[in-house]
Structure formats: C-alpha cells, structure tokens
C-alpha cells in the first residue's frame, strides 16, 4: 500500500507491505540507519522515533501507521549547517555516550521529554527515559546531559 508521511521535514511517499515494521521501513527503505534495533520487542528503546512528537518504539509500530504522521529520527536533529542539536551537544559534552547504540533513542526520548517539560526534575527525567536501556554509562551522565540540555534550551522551541 502507498503511504505518505513527513520524515525529518521531508515528504515521503512509499509503497509498503501491510505487515512491514516502521523500523524496517526507516532502516531498509529510507536508509536512515541511525534508528537501531536492539530487541524487536519494545523492551530496550534503541529504535525510538518521534511520531507527532511522541516517542514510539518503531519495532512495535507497523509502517502503515505512519500514514499522515510527522516523524523524526535521529538524522532529523542536526541543523542544515551541520550544527548539532543542543541535546546532541549536551550528550557529547557530558560524556553521556559510550558505545552509542542506545544514544539515538535516548536523545529522541529526551527531546520529547523536554518539549513536554522544559525543566524536568531528576525523577521526571528518570520517568521520561525509563523505556531506554543503556548498558554502558550507568545513566548518571545521561541525567546530567538532559539537565544540561534543558538549561541550554530553556524552553525554547525544540
């Protein structure tokens, strides 16, 4: 079936099988491999994308469900001039990235969190990122990165 949606600001029109996962569409057809697959069961959060601003596990989402939606993947964050998004910059500067496999999902969940709640408490950050597993960092620097990003953004449009 033909579906149409907006991905990272671009209009996409693509023919998909009804049973195709959004994750496979994004990775294999749109070649946006920044979205990672860690478990295929919605347990790890590596495949997080934003659908109309809401974080979703793209491994649990069927591609046809993207019809008419606005989606953001990690590739949609960097500015046209190559400038990093303040959240990306914060993750880098705070040392919140080790192997980096969970990072795209973490950053997108952070983006959704900060849009909803520009100055989250630690507990609110934990709640917001509880669907994203990281095995490397111990999370402490991820919390710091989110706080730093919140400070940098100060509720500006993200």
């Amino acid at each position: 079936m033909l579906i149409e949606f907006i991905c990272n600001g671009k209009e996409i029109s693509v023919d998909v099988l009804a049973e195709m996962r959004a994750l496979d569409l994004i990775r294999n057809e749109l070649l946006l491999t920044g979205t990672k697959c860690g478990c295929s069961k919605g347990e790890c959060g590596s495949c997080t994308i934003l659908v109309d601003g809401i974080p979703e596990c793209s491994c649990l989402l069927l591609a046809p469900k993207l019809q008419g939606k606005v989606i953001t993947t990690i590739e949609g964050l960097e500015g046209a001039d190559g400038e990093l998004h303040p959240i990306q910059q914060a993750f880098l500067e705070e040392g919140a990235v080790q192997c980096g496999f969970c990072t795209p999902g973490m950053i997108l969940s952070t983006k959704a969190l900060l849009k909803k709640n520009p100055a989250p408490t630690v507990t609110e950050i934990e709640e917001g990122l509880s669907g994203n597993i990281c095995r490397c960092t111990g999370y402490t620097k991820i919390i710091k990165a989110v706080q730093f990003a919140a400070l940098k953004l100060k509720g500006s449009e993200i």
């Binding site: 920044g34 979205t35 990672k36 295929s40 040392g95 080790q98 980096g100 095995r135 999370y139 620097k141």
Partner: protein
C-alpha cells in the same frame, strides 16, 4: 614521562567518535547494505543435550527466497571455534547437542524474513539425552562425559607458604560457601557480522567484535584458506564487555562460509534471544572459603576452592579460572594461601569473558568473609582491610612485588575519611533498615598469565600537520580511541581536532590479540606512544634544521615547533611536516609494544604475572524497605588507584557503568533455566538495570605512577564491577543482620530472609 607537564593527558577531552554517535551516522555492522545482501539465520536446538540423528533441509530449500542451507559438512576447514585449547567447540553442532540454543545449521535467504521462514521448516531429529545441569551433576563420579576428556575443563592451583601450619596456629578460623549466578552481557547491539567477498580474491568481514584477530584466524581455519586471505574490519560496536569475543568468531566464520559459497555478502545479526542463549555468559560459581587469622586481625592463611560452571564449551574458561585463582585471596598481604580453581562443563550456554573475568565472583566471597572476620574479631571492617592491605614492596598472592603504584591503602583511607562525614539517616523509622558496606579489591592489568601481551600501533603525520592513528585494539564504547588520540596528541604537540583514530583493520596493524584485561590504555597506549615518538623524531630533526639549532632545544606544542627558551620563536607544525616530507624524513611509524612477560611456576602459580594492578575500595549505603524488600542505594563511593587518569570524564564513565553492572550482578540479574533451557531470554524478564535502578556512584581517583604504562597509566574498565557487587552484599548484610551467600541478592530474597528472621 614522570613529572612531565602534560597538555592533553589528564584532560576530559570529548569523545573523538562522539559526533558520529550522537548524529546516528556511525556505521554499525547491521547498517551495512549491499544490493545483493543475503541474510543468515541459524537453526538452534531447543533441548540441552542430545544426539543429532538427521537434519532434513529439503523443505527449507523450497521456501521462496532461500538460497542455501549451510550444514557442518559444508564448513571446509575444521568446523571449530574456541580461542584457547582445548578448541572443543564446533561452529555448527555436528553429532551432539551440548546446550539449548546451540546452532546446527544456517539458513541463508534474500531477507531475514525468508531465512527465518526457511529455518522454521528445517526438520531436526535429535535424540534427547539427560542433560548435566549443575556443578554437582558434572562432578558426580558416574557422570556422563560432555566432552571426551571428561567434565573438567581446567583445574589450576595456587600455593604460597604453608597453609596447614597457618590454620593450625591461628586464633580464629572462619569458613563458608558462596555462589553466584550467570550474568548476561546485554549490550544494546547484539552480535552482528557482515561477510563480503569484494572480488579481490579475499574475504572481508565487517564485525561488531572485540577481538578482530581472533575472528580472522577462525575464519581462515574454517574456510581452509590462508589467514592472509582474510580481512576483518571492526565496525562501530555497540558494547561488548567481553561478550563479542568468542561469539563473533562463531558467527563470523559462519557468515564467511556462507558468503564464499554464494559469492555474495552475507549478514548474520543475532536476535536478542539468540544473543542471550547463544553467546557467552558470566560464569556461575561456587566458592568455598576458609580464612585463618590472629586475634589482632592479621590474616595468616586462606584456603579457597573455586568451582566455575562454564557451560557446554571451554571458550575462555581456562583463563577465567586462572584469573579467579590469582585474585581470590584479595588485595591483601597474606603469607599462606592455597587455592584450587576448577572450571566445569555442563549442558548450558557456554561462559566466557565478562567485565571482571572471574574477579567479581571471588571478590564477593572474599569481601563477605572479610566482613564476617571483622564481626568475629569485633574490628572495624575498614581497619581490618587496612591492616592487611598490600603496600608497595609487599608480596601479593603470587609473590609478585610492586615497588610502586600500589595505592590500596590510600583508597581505604579516602573511604574512611569520606565515610566520617556521611551519616546514614536515623534508624528510628520502623519501615526501613539502613546499612553501609565496604569492599576492597584489586585486578591485574595486562594479559598476564594468559600469554604474550603485544599491541601494534601506527602513527602517520600528514603534510598539513594532522595525524592518523591506527591500533590493533577495539573501541567498544569505553573511549579507547579518545585515549589513544590524547596520547598521540601529547607526544606530537598536535591538537586533538587534527588527530583521527581508525577503527581496527587487521590488514594494517600487527596482531594485537584481544581487547581485554583492562590493558588498552596501558599496553595499547604504550604502542601509540612509541609510534608517535618515532614520528616526532623526524619532526624534531626537521625543525632543528629549520631553526639551525639542536633537537633538544625544540618542543612540539599547540601545532607548532617552538624553541624551549623562546616561546615566540615558533614554526607552524604543518610547515615542518611539509619540509620533513620533502627532505625525505619518515612521517609514519608502525610500532609495537610488548608488556613484560609473565614468569611464574605452573604448579603453584607463584611469580610475576601482571604488569600492574588496579586497586580499589568501594563503599555503599543502602536503605531496605522491610515491607517490600526494596533496596535503595543512598550512597556509593568508588575509589580506585588506576594510575594516571588520561581522561577524567571517560574514567568516571567507566566507573559508573561498571559499577551499575556490578550492582546488577549483585541485586537484579539472573539467568533462569528450566531443564537447561533459558526461560528469560529477553530484556523484560531478564532485569538489566534501567535508569530507575541507577546508583549514585561517586568516582574518586587516587593517582599513583605506574612505570609500565605511558605517563603512569593503568586501567579501569573492569575493576569497579567487583567493588560495587561486593560492597552491595556487605551493605545488605549490615542493614539486615543477615549474611547472604548467593548472588543475586534480589528484593525477593531479601524480603523472604527478613520474614524468616522475624
């Protein structure tokens, strides 16, 4: 290097590969795409033990999209993986199934979906046999032999002094048995390889892996081609922690065999369940511990028996058993020690390297016993540790002496000091129990008893004054590329933004062995230091000609060659590089670092083993809810002597991450079996710590100067696992008054114990 003023080393440089990672541009193995890419999917046994009678692939070959099914007979080389002797593991099980999850054929199709559909209709006739599932079953006199040589993989001894005498003359003897469970690595990226016949007469494998040289050797052996025909390139690797060593050789060989058969690229990407059941775990263990001491707290003897459940194949069991053996007596000066460390086969998923490598298990036992001894002697647990702690000049368990860089007492003193200013909340509230636990540990740096420790590195300076660093050790998230860049930058006086560090390509650098044993910064760093030093000689020689002075009057700094005595007299380094090139001075060097060799007695394990040790003391304070068993970690101090710290922020990251893994081992994570089949092979039922489980780790570094590492460095990747796990166990014991002797000490276990005690 000592007392040298440092510009790059010691600074929290940003991760050099961080930009690729935060933008999603970093290419992991699963991100490779080729128009004719095929996918392999393994058929795996559902039972733990059995004889393979027949594998019928006829239906599978009829499934649309299936192009091939690889059987054991199709592997033209040895059909063998295994990093060490006894090399007992087939790539594909041929006659016998030894664990549930073992693969016996690989279905190759045009898509993952097709390959899985094909795998579903492979008909395997496997005659079940009663599996051997526990240490006791494996050791039973009449036990079936899992391998021809029996059920003991390896057994090693450490003998120092006269233990019998020490126990006879002691004032106090304590004795107990401790157990630990299997732990899964649970890196976020599962094991993935992509084998590509690029049409150059060779086979190239892009791999998520820890030890590319191991993979290269295994691929060549299984393809029956010269090693020189195989190239392994590490892709960005989404965590490893020891787990992508053995397993990557297995699927790397399989993908290569399939790719050569088809003349097309083949990817194997393990699913999460495969990653848990079909790749290594941390060894489960049973440790019997006896300790003899004088009334004043002097520990006079230790007698320890370690049994490691290694699962179906040897994998790295021989080395893990050795490391557990060496570390089991703890970081103390003890004159009489007798240890036996044995790894066993059982019909379960095979065990191998996992961050800590046998040390977390024995440290849990050792440090639990230290607290029990302190209790018995009515001594302060930190005082007891301090009294027995290794100092410079002392003989450790293997009678190795380090004259410097033994900072254990400093780590204990730091904890004593910080604990003094920390008070646990009032115990008056009925609902909660509070307690603080401590643990000291040490961990050998370098391959040590595991054999030769060499690393190759290359440094190439370009005419524009930038530099490319190559190295044979892998970046797995721990930040080694950044550390190597910092060391090269320090030597060459080039700023970090002009330094690029390649991922490992086995074609371009000396076989550097595996990326293990917390040795990257120390031994790998030394290789980079040496290579950069050679190139620096060319630059100094050229600059001396340009300045018309002697080389020792020149330093390289901030992308300039400048005169020592006049910092305004300087030439841009790129000008020096251009001149050096056109004068014919070499601007590239391929260097080699070899750690001092281990020399020890094979029967007693006495002698010089590691080139350095990391020492640490942890403190953990917990609050336990008596009604629910819930544990909250209120405070965690991780104090380590890791030598000179190259990158403080990355150092903290290593301590925080390893500590949470230790906490998971001690409190949350447990592989569960039913009849030898893992019943929680997913991230919902197997509890990897989430952000809500995080602990408030504070990292403190006690810097000593280690003469065997560049700039005095040691390593930090693994040690905190042991410290966090053991201090957690002691904190819970302190809070509840109950000694828990088996990891994990879960909320449920705690609650049940509290209720029993009531």
């Amino acid at each position: 290097m000592r007392n040298q003023e440092l510009v790059q080393v010691g600074k929290s440089a940003l991760k050099v590969d961080g930009r690729e990672l935060v933008t999603g541009k970093a290419k992991f193995s699963g991100d490779f795409n080729f128009p004719d890419l095929l996918h392999g999917y393994a058929c795996r046994s559902k039972i733990a033990a059995g004889y393979i009678k027949d594998i019928d692939i006829s239906q599978a070959l009829k499934v649309p999209g299936i192009v091939d099914v690889v059987l054991p007979k199709d592997i033209l080389g040895g059909n063998i993986v295994g990093i060490l002797p006894p090399y007992d593991q087939p790539v594909l099980a041929d006659k016998e199934i030894r664990y549930a999850g073992e693969s016996f054929c690989l279905v190759v199709g045009t898509s993952v979906r097709a390959a899985k559909a094909g795998a579903r209709v492979v008909i395997a006739t496997i005659e079940p046999i009663p599996p051997i599932l526990t240490i006791d079953e494996a050791l039973a006199k009449d036990a079936r032999k899992i391998h021809a040589a029996g059920n003991i993989t390896v057994s090693k001894k450490l003998i120092k002094g006269d233990c019998a005498k020490a126990f006879a003359e002691s004032d106090v003897i304590l004795e107990d048995t401790f157990e630990t469970s299997n732990q899964e690595h649970a890196y976020l990226e599962t094991e993935v390889v992509c084998a590509v016949p690029y049409g150059d007469g060779r086979i190239t494998v892009h791999a998520s892996c820890q030890s590319p040289f191991h993979i290269r050797g295994h691929i060549a052996a299984n393809l029956n081609v010269p090693v020189a025909n195989v190239k392994v390139v590490q892709a960005y690797t989404g965590g490893s922690f020891g787990g992508k060593d053995d397993t990557a050789t297995e699927i790397g060989s399989l993908a290569a065999v399939a790719a050569v058969r088809q003349g097309k690229p083949v990817m194997i990407s393990n699913e999460r369940e495969e990653s848990i059941v079909g790749s290594t775990l941390r060894h489960a263990s049973r440790i019997h511990y006896r300790i003899a001491a004088k009334k004043d707290g002097t520990i006079t003897g230790k007698e320890i028996k370690i049994l490691l459940d290694g699962g179906a194949y040897a994998a790295e069991s021989p080395f893990v058993a050795m490391k557990a053996l060496i570390h089991s007596a703890g970081p103390y000066k003890i004159d009489n020690i007798k240890v036996e460390s044995t790894a066993l086969y059982t019909n379960k998923t095979y065990c191998g390297a996992f961050r800590g490598f046998g040390v977390p298990q024995v440290t849990f036992a050792s440090e639990s016993m230290m607290d029990e001894l302190a209790k018995k002697l009515k001594m302060d647990p930190l005082e007891l540790r301090r009294k027995n702690a290794l100092k410079p000049g002392d003989l450790n368990a293997t009678s190795q002496v380090f004259q410097e860089s033994v900072g254990l007492i400093e780590t204990i003193d730091k904890v004593i000091d910080l604990n003094r200013s920390y008070t646990l909340p009032s115990k008056k509230q009925d609902r909660y129990l509070y307690g603080t636990g401590f643990a000291s540990m040490y961990q050998g740096i370098s391959n040590g008893a595991e054999g030769i420790d060499v690393v190759g590195a290359s440094v190439q300076v370009m005419q524009d004054g930038s530099a490319l660093v190559g190295i044979g050790l892998t970046e797995l998230g721990q930040g080694s590329r950044t550390v190597f860049a910092q060391i090269a930058a320090e030597v060459l006086g080039i700023s970090l933004d002009k330094i690029s560090v390649k991922q490992v390509d086995t074609d371009t650098v000396h076989d550097s062995g595996p990326t293990v044993a917390s040795r990257s910064t120390t031994v790998g760093g030394m290789a980079v230091y040496k290579a950069a030093g050679e190139v620096k000689r060319s630059l100094l020689k050229m600059a001396a000609l340009m300045f018309k002075t002697e080389e020792n009057n020149i330093i390289l700094k901030d992308n300039f060659a400048q005169l020592v005595f006049d910092e305004n007299a300087k030439i841009p380094l790129n000008d020096v590089c251009v001149a050096a090139y056109w004068t014919g001075f070499p601007l590239m060097n391929l260097s080699f670092s070899k750690a001092p060799e281990a020399k020890y007695d094979q029967d007693t394990t006495q002698g010089n083993i590691y080139i350095a040790y990391n020492y640490g003391t942890h403190m953990m304070s917990v609050r336990i809810d008596k009604l629910t068993g819930e544990v909250k970690v209120l405070k965690h101090l991780a104090v380590h002597d890791a030598g000179k710290v190259v990158n403080p922020k990355a150092f903290e990251g290593q301590v925080e991450g390893a500590s949470l893994t230790g906490f998971g081992l001690a409190h949350l994570e447990k592989i569960q079996y039913r009849e030898g089949v893992i019943i929680n092979p997913n991230l919902a039922d197997y509890a990897v710590p989430t952000i809500k489980d995080r602990i408030p780790s504070e990292t403190i570094s006690i810097e000593t100067y280690n003469p065997t590492g560049p700039y005095g460095v040691k390593g930090i990747g693994e040690p905190p696992v042991s410290g966090a796990a053991a201090s957690f166990a002691n904190a819970v014991a302190k809070a509840t008054g109950i000694r828990f002797k088996k990891l994990p000490i879960t909320r449920q276990v705690i609650l049940e114990a509290i209720n029993r005690k009531k």
